[in-house]
Symmetry: C2
Subunit: 362 residues, 2 copies
């Protein structure tokens, strides 16, 4: 069976004050469409996955938010991390859970807080990816066609195409580059943004974890003895924090790519499927601005009924609903309120939002 | 006896969103000093007036605010207008009330929402003014030395000084002038801002009202038959609205100045005492800005504990306490929140605040 795994444990610090550790962006209706990003993520996959095959891994402090926002997902499929250990332990947890109930599972792993424009193309890509990996020991990452030399993403360097397919072998994973390097990637071609979307069999995931992160694998072997019992929570609370904190990219993808490796008795490779379904990680106010409708003055507003803009251009305004805003004469600013906090800053200073968000801690 | 009369019925629309009809500026701690403008006004007069000789005329919807903010003022001294009829009926009301209990009263009449820097000089001027009018049928206005050609004030044109005194006969009252006229006033000299502060005997006020506004005088004759009885409120609610709406300046001051008039069997004149005690009517955000301390970047902040300014200059920020504000990169703006409404506008557009305040009515 195909299983959908949503990683929903992030804290979204770059979207302050809308997004905060108590209520990060995946749980917020960022786009003002009446659905949170988590809900939109599930919606996007549509009926390709039945609810009992949808899994959400999140921090235990968000358990009730997930259950509330996704009432159709079984409670037992909401996995709670007692602490943040990055994505490798997160994926190990859900892999060990799923392989108990479905050893032949294929896992589609997705962040909870991204945005996709063309959902039909997205579903086509997912279906193509599932059929590519199923029964093999390959892992397939989805590579986003880069539209600008963004220094906020990791890049996937593609090698040759598999003959008769648009799927390529992965030459290398590249960390967030400096601007000249990012520009070089774009002019060279064959580089794709790493969106954190990938597909592999649960058996491949397990085998890769045993090979590259044997300690994490051992900890989950110990935990899984109690899965489905009333000791599960206690054991996870005790052993999960012993996992080292490491991303799935560092732990497995990078080590597995560009090498001759065998998993499950088969040649194992890392592949990339260049994808063009209009993607945004909504990682910043600026990237949200790109996705929202704008008025004739270039202003993007979420929560329009509470905002009046006068002689203002190129602003992004997000009104939580707690505050009515009358704004005159702003050009190129972010104005956002949430939870009794207001941020006003220049749009081109948004990379400093984390700093701004700490203003009241000093 | 000397009586202090505070006119506290204004609605302060130019200070939106801090000041609104439900809670206008005289009832607000505009300066962030822990006392409202009404309280500061009473404080300013000090112990020159005992509480039973302090009177507040306000709208009946502000009755509880006045009582709460001025606990020492007797409840019976808080006079409630059932509707707004400008200052002439307001002053008639309090005059008819006071003359019943103290026919020899001298009245010092003051707005509730102004600001004075030099309180000692202010008190000296008030004492001088009282002794000038007491027992005479003169009215003395306090004229503020103009520091700029402000077009937001009326001007008092002074004539000759009374010999041996700095008090001048008033030649004319001038309405709010156009800028070239205001500039001419300043270069000519002998023109003073009309601050709405004046002093006269209650008997003079009564006689002037009978002469210039006999209808209003008659209405109060009828009302005063019920003063001190349980029919007072009902009678005032019924007859007060029948008064025509007119300012004391139009109704009496202008008509009385520059003429040979007799009141109480004596020559009656209008005089001005040029005063220099550092006055502001705090009529606009800009005039508030002038009175507040500013940081090294020229920012004036009320509610500092809830505001963090980064790379911002020449701003005036007023945080109500409901909202924490982080503001980056603003130059010359007003940012103010109150009651769930936020205003951001350029400081030099503040004359349009009334328009901005109506944004949500459309």
């Amino acid at each position: 069976m195909n299983h959908l795994v949503i990683m929903a444990g992030g804290i979204g610090s770059r979207f302050w004050p809308m997004s905060r550790p108590e209520n990060p962006k995946q749980f917020i209706d960022v786009l003002g469409v009446g659905r949170t990003l988590l809900q939109l993520t599930i919606d996007r996959f549509g009926e390709e996955f039945s609810p009992e095959n949808i899994w959400v891994v999140t921090s235990n402090k968000y358990a009730s938010k997930v259950a509330e926002q996704l009432p159709s997902v079984p409670k037992d499929n909401i996995l709670l991390e007692p602490c943040m250990r990055n994505t490798a332990p997160c994926i190990a947890y859900v892999t060990w859970k799923i392989k108990r109930v479905d050893p032949d599972a294929t896992l589609v792993i997705s962040p909870a807080d991204h945005f996709v424009v063309n959902i039909n193309e997205f579903r086509r890509v997912i279906r193509q990816g599932i059929s590519f990996v199923k029964g093999s020991s390959n892992v397939l990452t989805l590579g986003m066609f880069p539209t600008r030399p963004d220094t906020g993403y990791g890049y996937i360097q593609a090698g040759d195409e598999i003959s008769g397919s648009d799927i390529c072998y992965v030459k290398a994973f590249k960390e967030k580059p400096q601007l000249p390097v990012a520009k070089q990637y774009l002019s060279d071609g064959g580089y794709y943004w790493n969106a954190g979307l990938f597909i592999w069999d649960a058996a491949t995931a397990e085998a890769a974890m045993r090979l590259f992160e044997p300690e994490i694998a051992m900890l989950f072997d110990n935990m899984s003895a109690h899965f489905g019992t009333d000791k599960e929570e206690k054991t996870v609370d005790e052993l999960f924090p012993q996992c080292r904190s490491i991303s799935i990219d560092y732990a497995i993808m990078e080590r597995m790519s560009g090498k001759n490796i065998s998993l499950r008795g088969m040649n194992a490779g890392v592949y990339v499927l260049p994808s063009d379904f209009g993607w945004s990680d909504l990682g910043t106010w600026g990237s949200l601005y790109m996705q929202l409708d704008r008025d004739s003055m270039g202003n993007a507003i979420v929560g329009e009924e509470n905002v009046r803009l006068i002689e203002s251009n190129d602003c992004i305004v997000r009104a939580s609903g707690d505050l009515k805003m009358v704004i005159q004469g702003l050009d190129g600013y972010i104005v956002a309120d949430d939870n009794g906090t207001l941020l006003i800053c220049k749009k081109n200073e948004e990379q400093r939002i984390k700093q701004f968000s700490e203003s009241f801690n000093k």
